[in-house]
């Protein structure tokens, strides 16, 4: 039995079903990411958008959280919330950060928009002691069915853009991602699949089940050794 046959042994505890105080309205995937981060940690959020996760981390985990964001609007929105955000391109700028600069480096729903996703994950594991990656699972049955039955690139709630104007250029499935993690010789500490309602998929099921029924994957990684 290969490691692809079943989820990692140490599976994350389920994300809270209801948002707790102070996190009202936060996306469940963000809560799942936040739940993987130790209190008071130094965190870099790569592609932090308007700073929703950074704010959540600062407020609920007491984290020293920083961000990189490519869009001026996102940087401005984050800065107005009092967050430390650098306007820049993760595909190149991660090289500027020293080794072990952060306790966690987070790629929340941004991996698929990277030009060099493999390089970005390598960098995140160099800069951070741990890396957290969440992404839309292109292996979900609805996406497979969409392609199979309609012969068109899927447009879903999580992936609302048409193929020609999407910022997403590198889709992968949960299975693809797990394989990349093995190739990079990284360790998966926790893994969670979320269904279309953002609820965690049952943990006692094999990977193929996650790959079929998880709309998103959230993984906590660290370097081996």
């Amino acid at each position: 039995m290969t490691s692809l046959d079943r989820p990692a042994a140490d599976i994350a505890t389920a994300a809270p079903a209801k948002p707790s105080n102070g996190t009202h309205g936060a996306r469940v995937d963000l809560l799942t990411v936040a739940g993987m981060i130790a209190p008071g940690a130094r965190v870099l959020d790569v592609g932090c958008g308007d700073g929703a996760l950074l704010r959540l981390l600062a407020e609920t985990r007491g984290a020293d959280a920083r961000g990189i964001e490519i869009s001026r609007e996102g940087v401005a929105a984050s800065m107005a919330k009092g967050l430390a955000v650098i306007q820049g391109d993760a595909d190149t700028d991660l090289a500027d950060y020293p080794d072990d600069a952060f306790d966690y480096v987070v790629l929340s729903q941004t991996l698929q928009a990277m030009r060099r996703p493999r390089w970005v994950i390598e960098q995140m594991l160099r800069i951070g002691r741990r890396g957290i990656v969440s992404f839309p699972n292109f292996g979900h049955w609805r996406i497979r069915a969409h392609l199979l039955l309609r012969g068109q690139m899927p447009v879903t709630e999580n992936l609302p853009d048409s193929w020609y104007d999407t910022p997403n250029i590198h889709f992968c499935t949960i299975r693809d991602f797990v394989e990349l993690v093995h190739e990079l010789d990284a360790e998966m500490e926790k893994a969670v699949a979320l269904d279309r309602y953002g609820r965690p998929v049952r943990v006692d099921v094999p990977w193929w089940f996650w790959n079929l029924f998880g709309e998103q994957g959230v993984f906590l990684l660290h370097r081996r050794g």
Partner: protein, 395 residues
């Protein structure tokens, strides 16, 4: 401007150098200022301007550092020219540097000509203007002088230090020299060192001043003259570097002045020429030529990394200051790459840093102009910092 008006303006400017119309602190022989060059300045003085009210726990002070040819008159009419303050878009009630919430301080830099000791101040040893006998000053010296003023005002920690261009250099020097005294730092359109290209531009300006026969080896004030032509040319050259081709083009294009066809002469035939001449002439009215030499030199010598073994990150090691670095897309004098060097060093030093590149065609001068994105960014950063500092945020 008539000859009489000009003479009056010169007298006024001359007086401002020693007896400024703004507050001034005079440091006596017992409080010398040690300069980086090794020279010691005593007595010396620092002229400054304040706006707003210092709160009870003295925690709401913002120091503004002015650029090359600026001065302390940030948000009041200029005593020599009568023109509005140079950063009135940013400073005032309800503005990002809100005088209803913050106590704003701006000092004339060391080497300047508006009341802080500079080459046009009277040398106490001779009773004549210092001229080139004044020791060369650096950005580091300017900041040390400001720190002495802040001490004098009884302020321990500045809530923020902000400034653009040479002012941004001072902000970086403040954060490096006095990290525990700066809660938030805003270097705008700045660099951690003066580039070779900028040193080259500076040299052209200085040579223009010194080539004017009226410069008289720097002793023009005793002779009752000024190297106006040389200084005007220096300003015209520098002014081009503050703008961008896009800004010049949209403002003037190749349009002629008062005609529709070329005049075939060397008067200001193009609008852009007449604009530059005007910039040059209005500048000589308020600025001292020797001061121009001193402050451009101070910028040339600025190299924060060199002061720390060539590693810029070491200048900010262990810093708790919250930084907000801002650059402009069309600034070719202090391009975004220079700001990125600062950000990179701050990252390596694990400092809290935000960075934004603002899209504008206004060039380096954008930091002085009404650029909405600049206003919003500065406001957002300061409001958040005020909250973190526990200052009362205006509702």
């Amino acid at each position: 401007m008539t000859k009489h008006e000009k003479a009056k303006a010169f007298d006024l400017a001359r007086r401002e150098a020693d007896e400024p119309s703004s507050p001034v602190v005079r440091f006596g022989a017992e409080a010398p200022l040690k300069l980086v060059s090794g020279a010691v300045l005593a007595p010396w003085q620092c002229a400054y301007q304040t706006y707003g009210t210092l709160n009870a726990d003295r925690s709401n002070a913002i120091l503004i550092c002015h650029a090359l040819t600026g001065d302390q008159h940030v948000a009041n009419s200029h005593p020599v020219t009568g023109k509005p303050g140079w950063w009135q878009t940013m400073v005032g009630p309800g503005r990002p540097l809100d005088t209803d919430r913050f106590f704003i301080i701006c000092a004339n830099v060391l080497g300047g000509c508006m009341g802080t000791t500079g080459p046009s101040s009277t040398n106490p040893a001779t009773g004549k203007p210092w001229g080139l006998d004044l020791p060369v000053v650096t950005i580091h010296d300017m900041v040390d002088a400001q720190a002495r003023l802040i001490d004098h005002l009884g302020i321990d920690t500045l809530f923020a230090v902000a400034g653009g261009s040479m002012g941004g250099m001072q902000v970086l020097q403040w954060a490096s020299s006095y990290p525990e005294r700066v809660f938030a730092a805003l270097p705008i359109a700045a660099a951690a060192r003066h580039s070779a290209q900028n040193i080259a531009f500076g040299e052209v300006g200085r040579q223009a001043v010194m080539a004017d026969p009226e410069w008289r080896g720097g002793h023009y004030l005793e002779a009752g003259t000024r190297p106006e032509k040389g200084l005007a040319v220096a300003r015209m050259g520098a002014h081009i570097t503050y703008l961008s081709e896009a800004a010049l083009h949209s403002k003037f294009g190749r349009r002629f002045q008062n005609r529709s066809a070329p005049g075939f002469h060397f008067d200001a035939d193009f609008q852009v020429e007449s604009y530059l001449r005007h910039q040059g002439l209005s500048f000589v009215e308020r600025f001292d030529a020797n001061s121009y030499l001193y402050v451009t030199r101070a910028m040339d010598y600025f190299d924060l990394a060199a002061d720390h073994g060539g590693v810029l990150a070491r200048a900010f090691r262990g810093s708790k200051t919250r930084f907000c670095v801002i650059s402009f897309t069309s600034d070719w004098l202090f391009p975004t790459s220079e700001s990125r060097q600062i950000v990179k060093a701050l990252n390596a030093a694990a400092a809290s840093v935000s960075f934004v590149e603002i899209e504008t065609d206004k060039g380096h001068d954008a930091f002085l102009l009404d650029v909405p994105e600049l206003t919003t960014t500065v406001r957002g950063f300061l409001d958040a910092a005020a909250k973190a500092r526990g200052l009362k945020v205006a509702s």
